[in-house]
């Protein structure tokens, strides 16, 4: 022990800066005293031009660091379209409605043209000769047709919108179900490797991306193409010269919009990338806020957060910069088209003796057609982005759907009579979770029907693995695990597990009631049996004290229940299935009060009676109750026998026992 010098005065290595400041100002700013956010913003503003230029090539990767996919992949598209097959009728109906709608839309300016040229401002002798009242009557008829078509189009548009949405919903419904079912069949090793969050993304946002493609991408594209064809036909049939003139500005519009689009898209990707960076940073800081405060990082991290957000601000500014040009460009090119139409109209009208091909009605109609033509071109690349996102999502989803299931049934699984006798045998079993990292090494043992066995040993000795193998959560690499003399791989795995009750270390509770947590949603189990099971495992006491007894809602992940109570519920859950073989991963928790502890021990003893049981035991009483104790070390069985036999051997077990189970002196 070092000698203490009472006169020593601690000399800090880092001097504390000037502290003469009012409360709530940052003091020991870790050399960051001079930080001023306004100055930082001003500086960022000054350098923005340079920073924006540097930003432009940043957006070629997505948040996961993957390069962007192309917007169209023939194999993926084919497979996706396959999901539409069950809804072929609806699909055809939707497209049909859509096309009729697109054919009617260009009729409206045409009707206005007729109204102008015939009735309002007649250009031909025939109509000019009519009395004003007669012309007005003609106008009324025309307006009624106009209104009728509007009503029809309302129905058509609503109809196809609904159908398309219906289709999209059903496709993603099928996809979600398929993904979910697939996940149920995947082997346990898959879950050891794959974070739950990733699976959730597949079934939520990836599926959503596909729905958006079905709804806006594909259908939107069909609608746009239909409209463009319809408009072209109308325009050329009214006046082909004006139609050509109107079309001359389209390449210009298309070019300008495409340029702006690519700039906006780059900026948008930078926005997404940087926003996700900002959120990730914030999330981490909030999670580690205690560390931040204890280490006086407030100012420095604020500065860093600000810097990240200034970068994000750059991206927003870049986005606004190009986006602000978008609609004005459309407007200006629109004005150009109008000017061209006017000019051509003027050359035709001036000295109208030429025959009056261009009338005021025609001019008005073309002013509207040029505007209508602009619209589909405006959002063409939105659709490109949607398609691109959907392709990437589809690829990920199909990747999951194509994952091999790993642990699979035989083509014709062996049948067993309604119950297992309960003989468990490990025959020269070798097992590793990862290649060559052997957890079980040539392990052999046999458990007789009705026998109870406790596994003891240090962490990593292979106890949990043994239990997982009996349930066939994994397949062994060498050797065999047998139930009633038959390899577990020969049985139907679901049926096998229904007869092997398992109590897990983490007694996972689902949302729902206490009752449904015991029955696991099997409504065929009557309440009496649930109560009976709960009584048997000593869970009835605390359950009946709950506000609504067995119908009490379980909060998220069983919050509100103690660890001991959750374990008792897990016991009841295993018992209600009346399993032929019982596997228990017993958690020795320091957090269980003595009373509950006694209840758990008692329940466990009762559960084991007359049933083949393999238990990972941490409790002395459990160990004394079993028929046989198997001591594991590094994947091998090193000692076995009854408690007394093993104690008298004075081997590994005895030391383990003394360490873990001996009661403390002074506490009896």
């Amino acid at each position: 022990m070092s000698q203490l010098d009472p006169n020593r005065i601690y000399q800090p290595k880092y001097p504390v800066p000037d502290l003469d400041k009012p409360p709530n100002k940052r003091l020991t700013d870790m050399s960051d005293v001079g930080y001023d956010v306004e100055a930082a913003k001003a500086k960022a503003r000054d350098q923005r031009q340079r920073r924006l230029r540097a930003m432009r090539n940043e957006g070629n990767i997505d948040e996961d660091g993957e390069a962007f996919k192309k917007a169209f992949d023939i194999d993926i598209t084919k497979r996706l379209l396959g999901y539409l097959r069950p809804y072929l009728k609806q699909t055809i109906a939707a497209v049909a409605l859509l096309l009729v709608y697109s054919a009617i839309v260009p009729a409206f300016p045409f009707l206005v043209q007729i109204a102008l040229d015939r009735y309002i401002n007649p250009t031909t002798e025939t109509f000019a000769a009519l009395a004003p009242a007669a012309r007005y009557n003609g106008l009324v008829t025309l307006v009624l047709i106009y209104l009728g078509l509007r009503a029809v189009n309302f129905g058509l548009r609503y109809g196809y919108t609904y159908l398309v949405s219906w289709m999209g919903q059903h496709v993603i419904y099928d996809l979600r179900k398929e993904i979910f079912s697939k996940v149920q069949r995947l082997h346990m090793g898959f879950f050891d490797r794959t974070p739950v969050g990733r699976l959730i993304t597949r079934i939520t946002s990836d599926v959503d991306a596909i729905e958006q493609m079905m709804r806006d991408g594909i259908v939107g594209l069909i609608a746009d193409i239909g409209l463009i064809i319809g408009l072209t036909v109308y325009m050329f049939s009214i006046n082909w010269q004006l139609a050509l003139i109107t079309l001359t500005v389209m390449p210009l519009l298309f070019g300008v919009l495409n340029f702006l689009r690519s700039r906006i898209r780059d900026a948008y990707r930078a926005v997404r990338l940087r926003a996700s960076k900002s959120n990730t940073y914030l999330q981490e800081q909030l999670s580690g806020i205690k560390t931040l405060q204890l280490f006086n990082r407030e100012s420095r991290n604020q500065r860093r957060f600000d810097q990240i957000n200034l970068d994000l601000l750059d991206a927003y500014v870049e986005q606004v910069r190009w986006f602000s040009l978008f609609f004005p460009s459309v407007q200006l090119i629109g004005a150009l088209a109008t000017a061209l139409i006017l000019y051509y109209g003027a050359t035709q009208l001036i000295g109208a003796d030429a025959g009056g091909v261009v009338t005021i009605g025609v001019l008005t109609a073309f002013l509207q057609y040029s505007q209508m033509f602009f619209r589909p071109l405006q959002d063409l690349s939105d659709k490109y982005n949607i398609m691109q996102a959907a392709m990437a999502s589809s690829e990920r989803i199909f990747g999951l759907l194509d994952t091999p299931e790993g642990v699979i049934n035989q083509p014709e699984p062996a049948h067993f009579e309604t119950k297992f006798k309960g003989e468990v045998e490990f025959d020269n079993v070798w097992f590793a979770y990862q290649k060559d990292d052997w957890i079980l090494r040539d392990l052999s043992f046999k458990v007789e029907p009705g026998e109870s066995v406790a596994l003891v040993g240090h962490t990593g000795a292979g106890k949990t693995t043994i239990i997982s193998l009996v349930s066939r959560f994994y397949d062994v690499q060498r050797g065999a695990v047998r139930l009633d003399g038959q390899d577990v791989r020969d049985y139907d795995q679901v049926e096998l597990r229904r007869h092997v009750g398992i109590v897990l270390q983490d007694p996972f509770l689902f949302s729902g009631s206490v009752r449904s947590n015991i029955t696991l949603g099997d409504d065929s189990i009557p309440l009496e049996r649930v109560i009976e099971a709960a009584q048997f495992v000593n869970a009835h006491g605390f359950i009946s004290e709950l506000s609504e007894g067995y119908d009490t809602e379980v909060l998220e992940r069983g919050a509100g229940f103690s660890t001991g109570q959750k374990q008792l519920i897990a016991f009841a859950r295993a018992l209600v299935q009346n399993p032929d073989i019982l596997l228990v991963l017993d958690e020795a928790t320091a957090n269980v009060d003595t009373e509950t502890e006694a209840l758990i021990q008692d329940a466990l003893a009762k559960l084991m009676q007359g049933r083949t049981s393999i238990i990972i035991a941490h409790r002395l009483s459990t160990i004394q109750d079993v028929d046989r104790i198997m001591v594991m070390k590094k994947g091998q069985l090193i000692e076995q026998g009854s408690h007394q036999e093993l104690l008298s051997q004075d081997g590994y077990y005895r030391k383990l026992y003394e360490l873990q189970y001996q009661t403390r002196p002074g506490q009896g």
Binding site: D20, Q293, V320, T364
Partner: protein, 587 residues
Amino acid sequence: MLQTSKDLFAYVRRYPVRFLIGLVGLVISAFATTQGPRIIGNAIDAFQQGTMTRQSIWLYIGALIGVIATASAAMIIVRRTILNASWEIQFDIRHDLFDHFTRLSTHYYDHHRVGDLMARLTADLNAVRLLVGVAVFQGANTLLLLGFTLYRMFTLNVTLTLLTLLVVPLITVSFFVLLRIIHRRYQRVQEQFSDVSAMAQENFSGIRVVKGFGIEDREVSNFKRLNDEFIRRNLLLTRADGPLFPLMELLFGVALSVLLLVGGRFVIGLGGNLSVGNFIDFVLLFEGIQWPLIALGWIANIVQRGDTSWRRLREILDHEPAIQDTAQTNYNLTSIRGEIEFENVSYDVGDTRILDDVSFRIRAGETLGVAGRTGAGKTTLVNLIARLVEPTEGRILIDGIDIRHYPLEVLRRHLGIVPQEPFLFSDTIAENIAYGVPQGDPDGLEHQIREVAQLVQLAGDVEDFPEGYQTSLGERGVTLSGGQRQRTAMARAIIRDPAVLILDDALSAVDTQTEARILEGLEQVARDRTTLIVAHRVSAFQHAHRIVVLEAGRVVEQGSHDQLLAADGWYADMDRRQQLEASLESA
């Protein structure tokens, strides 16, 4: 609402020039936009009357391009000023929120989940940004455009204007009402969606139970049932948002029909008088306000949501930090020698007493061991010294002065705490170790990092990493073992050269041999500073001058290692068991 806008206005006021320029730009743009139809109308009248010549047509075309170019240019400026200002405001609010987050105390975070706070910072902040940016810009634009258009329409023909306007309230109101229904149904879809994803989440997390009990089929059918409802609600939503745009189309069609009928009648010369050019001017004007009329309903929604969101953000900003510097704080206290005294300290959480009348004293430079089982209150003791929590009763003195008198930052600046489950940041190992030391002199710092890494037996591990000390931790880098994390955290605390070093069960995940080597190195460090070692293992206390044993929040034993062994209590018992364990491990 008024209060809200006043608070928010404080942010808006930081950008007076931009908003002013933006508003002027909007006036110019709206005025110019409404002149376009007039020029076209006049041109048509000129055709009609035969006064148009090949020369005068250029006048009209020039004027048309001129006003549209003016309107476009003004709109570019408007977007760049107002929208950029709204992004800057978002930055400002985010800055202020982060600043506030760093001040809020542990208690606050115990009651607010990070996920919820994140949602505020993303969704709510976005809603507020839309309010100060898009709503201001579109709102002003819409009103100005409507104003100018109506003025021009009335000048053209009062009767026609009044008749056309009959349809307008119908458009705005129906859009607003539909949006509300849609919003409600959308929320019901979202609720069901969270149920669907919650079920998936639960199933995937509890897959061992699902497979262990062979209930896959039942889970699939439950999932199907949730999705059935999801689809039902979605189609219900479609029934509301499906007709939205078709209905707008229809209503505008009706308005245009009225225009055609009445306007046409006037042009024909029945019951009124209107030139054909003015008529087309009128039609074009009306088409120009279609979008603004719809937008009114949309803007009203943005304002509503932005207002709610801003209230929620205010809730955070208005939350007073439970622990902060007060009027009592003495800013002349700048250093700490390291004498710590607990004076009858009790600490409650709700009705539960965590610490009960704890008193002890550590002299400056002394090493104190704190023993006790899980839940005995050891970590609370550490949190009290760091002022992460405040005692319910009693007080804590450092160098004889109540810790509440120290500026919070001075106090923490002199502490080096190693928690049991250390939080490391997804940054390089070097960054994580140097987390709590000032920047500057990178060479010296690098040297120090290596030195402390050596001391806590981390250097060897780091050498095996792909990029040594520059290796990143977390998702994009290496994952450290529990022991490595603890050793990194220890290096992080020691490199600060703190007056008080606190190890809160910091070696629990380290094996015994490494522990021994660390403790050996630690002795050098502990020699000239106050050290507090909280541990389960007796071996960790070998260099402690004194040991305090806590049980259920009370000090039950206190003394040197030898004294406590002689007392043959809890401590002596624990010592015996651990001796045995050591012999077992070597067996």
